[in-house]
Amino acid sequence: MTDTLSFSQEISNLLYATEGQPIRTCIQCGTCSGTCPVAGYMDYTPRQMIAMINAGLKEQVLESNTFWYCASCYHCTVRCPQEINITELMYALKRYSIWKGQHKEGLIGPTFSEAFVKMIVRGGRSFEPVLAPSYIFSFNLRGILQEVTNATELLLKGRLPVIPARIKRIESFKRMIGRIIPMGGLE
């Protein structure tokens, strides 16, 4: 008997908290890849990703953009004939990759999501302008100009917040989060 879990067992364990069947029941039919609206932009399709996990190809999986490109639309999940919750699998891979501090170079997803969660922990509500630094420098010049144009237009239409929203009971809110995650890790 082996002491260490295989990669596929590790990922399956992350999924047992949710509903849905274990990924080893995948029959490789490809319905997920055929359904996924983002598959064409992914390094590996969802079907390939599941096969790679089951084959223990941990490095290749973690170095791919696939799970960070999942838009969380659940289209694959509602169609999977084996009732595997593929969207939750993608979430689990994101958490695993953040936890291990390992992901493909140049992706915006990991830094953006950490910035988002830190923002909520501080104020309890979303305030879009503070998020910009977490992604804007990854854009090329055209992307930056596009973002500035959009922000200006939103501002002119009265659709961009200028004062950060904050909940009232922020202190007890922070203590509540402290019971889940040590605040040192998020502040």
Binding site: V38, C73, H75, R95
Partner: protein, 293 residues
């Protein structure tokens, strides 16, 4: 009078303020009171779940616990807020250990969640809690001849909750017909707008938005109707970027379904947040929903 605990969500405070205004105006006409949830916090969008599952459930549970004290069902106009709260409530009901852990954290804010709250999307209120006859009774300016693409998006119907139709639902079309509009056959109505990929994977998201816009053009729609702030922003505010990226020439209006209902109810445009769009609405639509303001 029907009353709900209203969870506007962060987007409706500013970015989607038109959705907020039109939701309040149209429900009021139908004798429904949306009472804003006291001191609500962000639902977490998709990102909490990228970082920590337990944190994500706890943050949603705080809102559920606050709502439970009012004894009212929650209504969320944003599909992401709705999905997060709906499935958090479902998981907490099934998993007592999870509920215990979450309640241990909620104690710090003097809250406790017992599992007694129902969560509805705003569109479900119009489609299920109000009859088509009740909607028709309020229509003073039917949107005759207005071809509307009913864009469901994702999280209002997915993941599947029970046995409801997740492939070809018709409830959005039903609402549009009730206000005199013509719901067009919009083959991509269930496809994703890209959501937060518009930030994290721009090229992919713009491609998805382009497909949705092209499909609406092909269906000869006048306007796309949405039920989610993320969908509205991606489809409307990023059209210029789509045009730059693909050499297209889209200038396609995208409204919230409540704005269309409001026009049919004869509510003044300003009260529906009309005028805050990037892409102005076709005159034919405003003529159909003529209101004197």
């Amino acid at each position: 009078m029907k009353e709900y605990a209203y969870f506007p969500g962060c987007s409706l405070e500013k970015m989607a303020v038109s959705y907020h205004l039109s939701a309040l105006e149209t429900t009021k006409k139908l004798g429904i009171k949306l009472k804003e949830l006291e001191d609500w916090n962000c639902c977490g969008a998709t990102t909490y779940f990228y970082i920590d599952e337990l944190l994500a459930y706890t943050l949603c549970a705080r809102n559920l616990a606050i709502a439970e004290k009012t004894g009212l069902d929650i209504v969320a106009p944003c599909s992401a807020c709705y999905k997060n709260m709906y499935f958090t409530a479902a998981h907490l009901k099934k998993d007592v250990d999870l509920a215990e852990h979450v309640n241990f954290a909620l104690e710090e804010d003097d809250l406790h969640y017992n599992g007694g709250v129902n969560i509805k999307h705003l569109m479900e209120v119009f489609a299920q809690d109000v009859s088509a006859e009740e909607i028709k009774a309020q229509v003073t300016h039917p949107l005759e001849g207005i071809r509307v693409a009913p864009y469901y998006g994702c999280q209002i119907v997915r993941p599947q909750k029970e046995k409801e139709d997740v492939e070809q639902p018709q409830f959005f079309e039903g609402i549009l017909s009730a206000i005199g509009a013509t719901p067009v056959n919009y083959p991509l109505k269930m496809r994703c707008c890209g959501g937060s990929l518009i930030i994290s994977s721009r090229t992919a998201a713009l491609g998805m938005v382009r497909n949705l816009l092209q499909c609406a053009v092909d269906a000869q729609a006048t306007v796309i109707a949405t039920a989610c702030p993320m969908c509205q922003v991606n489809l409307e505010c990023y059209q210029q970027q789509v045009n730059q990226e693909f050499g297209t020439n889209f200038s396609f209006p995208v409204l919230y379904f409540t704005q269309l209902i409001g026009l049919a109810f004869g509510i003044p445009q300003k009260k529906l947040g009309i005028g805050k769009e990037f892409i102005s609405i076709a005159p034919s639509l405003l003529r159909a929903g003529q209101s004197n303001d």
